[in-house]
């Protein structure tokens, strides 16, 4: 078991290395030169080639790509993701300042998704084939299909403009996190509801459920105490992975709601070709995502004793 854990944790290292290569390549191979962008930002008149070259030299952008990658990676390993071209602040400090805001709506979105998805999925499974099931499935399909920017505007129209309950944008104000979290969460709820339904239907068809029913247990106890426990295992795994998606999906939602999180930071950094910030963001989010994936995998071992025992047996032989 410990060996398995160790292998899984060590396997993150090549994964992170791959992410670092992608992060570096994606930002550096995009059209547009950060030195030119910076020179234009800092100058009222169009900058000369000499001025651009000076900036390029200052930020060591004139070195070959592999050399720059090695320098960046070397520093990143020591916990230094560089400094933003735009603000001159350490990238890690910028990410740390903005990440709580993104975490806030992502956590809210997850809570909303689960609150909606679990009862909906269970109801759809228990009342399979009824109008309730069909409605839930159509709702889930809609939730998964609607683009978040459209949903965001719709929610603003209903809850901010129509009802006046919630603010339109920004992080100030009562309930400011609710609409961005709801926009993010509804999409995730659709996925989780469909999964809960499918998973529960599978478990409800198993022998131990038939036994439970034969023993005279009422349907409520069969579903909520026996079936749901088994059905939630894949749901929990997907939930952990979905959380990573929610963090990433915040990029669009933060733009709509002027939410001061890392998503907005990334968009501005891309516009400015702020390489250290883009690279730092991709690496940081990539690491979070891979760790969440690992947590999801390990949660199987933790929750399902059958899998844990199988691993232990394999380790003994």
């Amino acid at each position: 078991m410990k060996r398995y854990l160790l292998i899984r944790i060590l396997s993150l290292i090549p994964l992170w290395l791959g992410i670092s290569v992608l992060a570096f390549a994606l930002s550096n191979l995009a059209p547009g030169d950060p030195a030119t962008v910076l020179a234009h930002r800092l100058s009222d008149a169009p900058p000369t080639e000499e001025q651009i070259a000076a900036i390029r030299g200052q930020y060591q952008l004139d070195a070959p790509l592999p050399v720059r990658y090695a320098r960046w990676l070397g520093a990143a390993v020591r916990g230094d993701l560089g400094r933003s071209y735009r603000t001159k602040e350490p990238v890690l400090k910028e990410l740390a300042a903005r990440f709580p805001a993104t975490l806030q709506i992502a956590l809210g979105a997850l809570a909303i998704a689960l609150v909606i998805a679990l009862p909906l999925g269970v109801l759809a499974a228990v009342r399979r084939g009824t109008w309730l099931d069909h409605t839930a499935r159509v709702g889930a399909l809609l939730g998964a299909s609607v683009p978040s920017y459209w949903l965001g505007y719709l929610l603003i129209l209903v809850f901010a403009l129509g009802a006046g309950w919630l603010p339109v944008a920004g992080r100030d104000g009562a309930g400011a996190a609710v609409l961005p979290a709801l926009t993010l969460g509804l999409g995730a709820a659709a996925t989780l509801a469909r999964l809960t339904r499918a998973s529960l239907l599978e478990v409800l068809g198993e022998d131990f459920i038939r036994t439970a029913r034969a023993k005279g247990l009422d349907e409520w106890a069969v579903v909520w105490r026996h079936a749901l426990k088994g059905a939630l295992i894949p749901v929990l795994t997907v939930t952990v992975i979905a959380y990573g998606h929610l963090l990433g999906g915040a990029v669009i939602v933060e733009g709509i709601f002027a939410w001061p999180g890392v998503g907005n930071l990334l968009v501005n950094s891309i516009y400015d070709r702020d390489y250290p910030m883009i690279q730092g963001f991709v690496l940081f989010m990539g690491m979070i995502f891979t760790v969440l994936n690992l947590v999801a995998d390990l949660s199987y071992l933790w929750i399902d004793p059958r899998i844990r025992l199988a691993h232990e047996r394999r380790a003994r032989t």
Partner: protein
């Protein structure tokens, strides 16, 4: 085992509960609402530079009137006294007489030492050559006495007075670094800045001029156009900058709302790559360029695409910059028949698919556009040129960096831009992109050289405003009517939407010179 499993599910449920609590906690943070004497304004994205020595926080690109320059640019682009009450030119030196009795918002007296500190700071931070075109260096500013200061540019600069009304030259208190918190003499002082979220100012009670009617102004950065409009409609902000033109008509009809248009402060123009390398060398022929200019129906563009929010113009900048000389520029009438005739005369005949060809080469051009221009505008130009047999490939850039990369590499035939006129210098726009001795990597694609350069040099050296306006008009006539290097499409009007009770707002053609200290609420 069952006991342990139950614990796991309880943990899961608890985590879920905690998440909900977190969201509820977030809901309980204090709400920022406008008070009776506070106006909240929805602005576009926060684009302030906050790097020390470079920072123009509160000044550029959104001037919230914390700092004031020596002179002010009024809405007719005329110079008015501000921190300097008078000035005179002695050879290459400009002498400014400063307003007495002015104090900074922190109580320091405003003297010529502050002017020297401000300009020296700008020069020290001039790594990228920001002040190159103003020609200031570390020896340029000399304190004569407390209220007199001499500015001698490193090389003669007749345009200095017209240039230093720009918000970049806002005077800061000696020792102040605006990256931390700008301290100026303006009608407002900074109270809060949250990067990417808001900048808030309150009335400077020590202000030398008239007392601002409002206690506080908060500029909230709402980059998304639709969100900005929705925030106005929901009453979260009392006014929005840069209301999207497609929503202006709806806002006009909404009860309790007003839409205000600023006079034209910039012109959407197509710049033609006349010195491009193959395949972008088709516009070397002047008849082809003239045909393009005649084929675009500008009135239809304004009415059908821009919903009336534009103005027919012939020049490349605001009319006010040319005085009485704007009549020198004739412009182009819409005449597709003549356009077709010119193309035929130039040897381009219609091919099988309607696109003109010559020697096996198609008359196919690439149009790039500054990011703010929407696809509808680009497609309109495309359709207009298609009607005379010109194929136009649209290369809309997703962001400024990729646009600049394409522009500087010369991978275009036509470039749609709308440069702002933010200072009072009539000789700002013509040399900016077309004077062969100007800085910038794109000059080589546009510069006509020869007589144009002579006009620019005469304009830069002109000693009267009328003379410089005349030279600017001559330069623009050469760029448009004569050489067809620029095709002006229409003057762009900045659109503001505000609550009906917001009074006293006088839109300036340049947002950078917009005054906020005239705004009040209707009683």
């Amino acid at each position: 085992m069952r006991h342990r499993a139950d614990h796991r599910y309880k943990f899961f449920a608890t985590s879920l509960g905690l998440s909900l609590c977190l969201v509820l906690f977030a809901c309980c943070t204090g709400r920022r609402t406008g008070t009776a004497h506070e106006l909240v304004i929805g602005a576009r994205a926060d684009d302030y530079i906050i790097e020390p020595l470079k920072s123009k926080l509160g000044m550029y690109p959104l001037n919230v009137q914390i700092c004031e320059p020596l002179v002010r640019i009024n809405s007719d682009y005329e110079i008015e006294p501000l921190l300097a009450t008078a000035w005179e030119q002695r050879g290459d030196t400009w002498r400014f007489f400063l307003r007495p009795g002015v104090v900074f918002s922190d109580g320091q007296p405003f003297t010529s030492a502050a002017v020297k500190y401000t300009f020296d700071r700008l020069v020290r931070g001039d790594r990228a050559g920001t002040y190159q075109h103003v020609y200031l260096d570390e020896n340029s500013v000399r304190v004569v006495d407390d209220l007199t200061v001499d500015i001698t540019p490193a090389r003669p600069n007749e345009r200095l007075l017209e240039q230093i009304g720009h918000a970049n030259y806002g005077i800061v208190a000696p020792g102040n670094e605006p990256a931390n918190a700008p301290v100026g003499t303006g009608p407002f002082k900074l109270t809060e800045y949250r990067r990417g979220e808001l900048i808030a100012v309150e009335r400077n009670e020590r202000y030398w001029g008239g007392r601002a009617p409002l206690d506080r102004l908060t500029f909230r950065f709402l980059p998304d156009d639709t969100t900005r409009v929705l925030a106005l409609q929901a009453g979260e902000v009392g006014m929005i900058l840069d209301a999207p033109r497609e929503q202006a008509a709806a806002l006009r009809t909404q009860a309790g709302m007003r839409v205000v248009e600023a006079p034209v402060g910039r012109v959407a123009s197509i710049f033609l790559n006349v010195h491009g390398n193959a395949p972008h060398d088709l516009l070397a022929n002047k008849n082809v360029r003239r045909a393009l200019a005649l084929a675009i129906n500008r009135r239809a563009l304004i009415e059908q695409v821009w919903e009336g929010n534009g103005e027919l113009v012939a020049a490349i900048g605001p009319r006010a910059m040319l005085g009485t000389h704007d009549a020198l520029i004739v412009g182009f009438a819409y005449d597709p028949q003549e356009a077709a005739r010119l193309l035929t005369q130039a040897g381009w005949t219609p091919g099988a698919d309607g696109v003109r060809v010559q020697g096996g080469r198609r008359l196919s051009l690439t149009l790039i556009g500054w990011t703010e221009f929407d696809t509808a505008t680009l497609e309109f130009v495309q359709a207009q040129l298609a009607s005379i047999g010109v194929e136009l490939r649209l290369a809309k850039s997703p962001d400024t960096a990729s646009y600049q990369a394409r522009l500087e590499a010369g991978e275009f035939d036509l470039d749609l831009e709308g440069p702002n006129q933010n200072d009072a210098n009539p000789m700002f726009l013509p040399p900016l992109r077309f004077y062969s001795k100007s800085s910038g990597k794109t000059i080589r694609y546009f510069a006509p050289g020869g007589r144009f350069d002579e006009i620019i040099e005469a304009g830069l050296a002109a000693t009267t405003r009328d003379e410089v306006m005349r030279r600017s008009a001559e330069a623009q006539r050469l760029l448009t009517d004569e050489e067809v290097i620029v095709i002006p499409l229409a003057g762009l009007k900045r659109i503001y939407a505000l609550r009906a009770d917001v009074q006293g707002f006088i839109p300036h053609p340049s947002l950078l010179n917009q005054r906020w200290d005239t705004i009040s609420f209707e009683r």
